[in-house]
Symmetry: C2
Subunit: 144 residues, 2 copies
């Protein structure tokens, strides 16, 4: 069951406007992987597509997808780097992920992704998997 | 044993000039964690300090430190985001990490960190742990 996150307005804005996040997964043996991702947040779930940016392997064989099938626990971080370290901040989101191939969540994710990233409007995302993350807990640090 | 990485000049420059990386660890049960880090690379190992940026807990109780003690496998990503997605790139480094508290690696790491980040010159890093990562394999994507 997804936890409904109640964020301060500044935190919501930080999440909404961030263009990139970093997603950590781990395989069944505990080998971690981290990748930069494009993402959207609908107020309840985070979504990131397996998009058409060049990949070496088919979507189902992508390590992040295989890891999530083996071990659904994931961690997402959204952060800001600045040379003035008083401005550093991040929010960590620990949650459970699943791969969504079709249906209402998939449609919603694609629509939100295309609204946020004009780059996706020319990509055929409709038949590609989306990773859906239900947050379990969050930790924020610094002034979001 | 650390693998000696032979990078193209452009890759070396990308790694050397990146100000932030993202480090994924996982605990013994396979729960992943990702955090943004400041880091240096000496041509053989990556180093990141447990610095004085405010933490909720003592260095030894920090989750990344506990995770590495339980499970030394880590994954590091250095990436560039750009709205022109043809400029996106990243390099993934999978390796084994250990916590270094003193000695020649620790001294070298502190010196390199202070050279790269002026912010560290005013911080007393000398008695704080450093995470040392021996790369096992790397994957790069996009035009570094």
């Amino acid at each position: 069951m997804a936890v409904v996150l109640r964020f301060a307005i500044s935190t919501s804005r930080f999440i909404r406007t961030a263009r990139v996040a970093h997603l950590a997964t781990a395989d069944a043996a505990g080998e971690p992987l981290v990748v930069p991702i494009c993402f959207v947040f609908d107020g309840k779930h985070f979504f990131t597509p397996i998009d058409e940016k060049p990949k070496r392997v088919a979507p189902a064989n992508l390590r992040r997808v295989k890891n999530i099938k083996e071990n659904p626990r994931v961690c997402l971080v959204i952060d800001r780097y600045d040379e003035n370290w008083r401005k550093l901040c991040h929010i960590l989101i620990a949650g459970k992920a699943r791969i969504v191939l079709r249906g209402s969540y998939h449609q919603k994710a694609i629509a939100l992704l295309r609204r946020k990233y004009p780059q996706y409007r020319a990509m055929s995302l409709d038949r590609r998997p989306v990773i859906m993350i239900a947050p379990r807990r969050t930790v924020s640090w610094g002034n979001l």
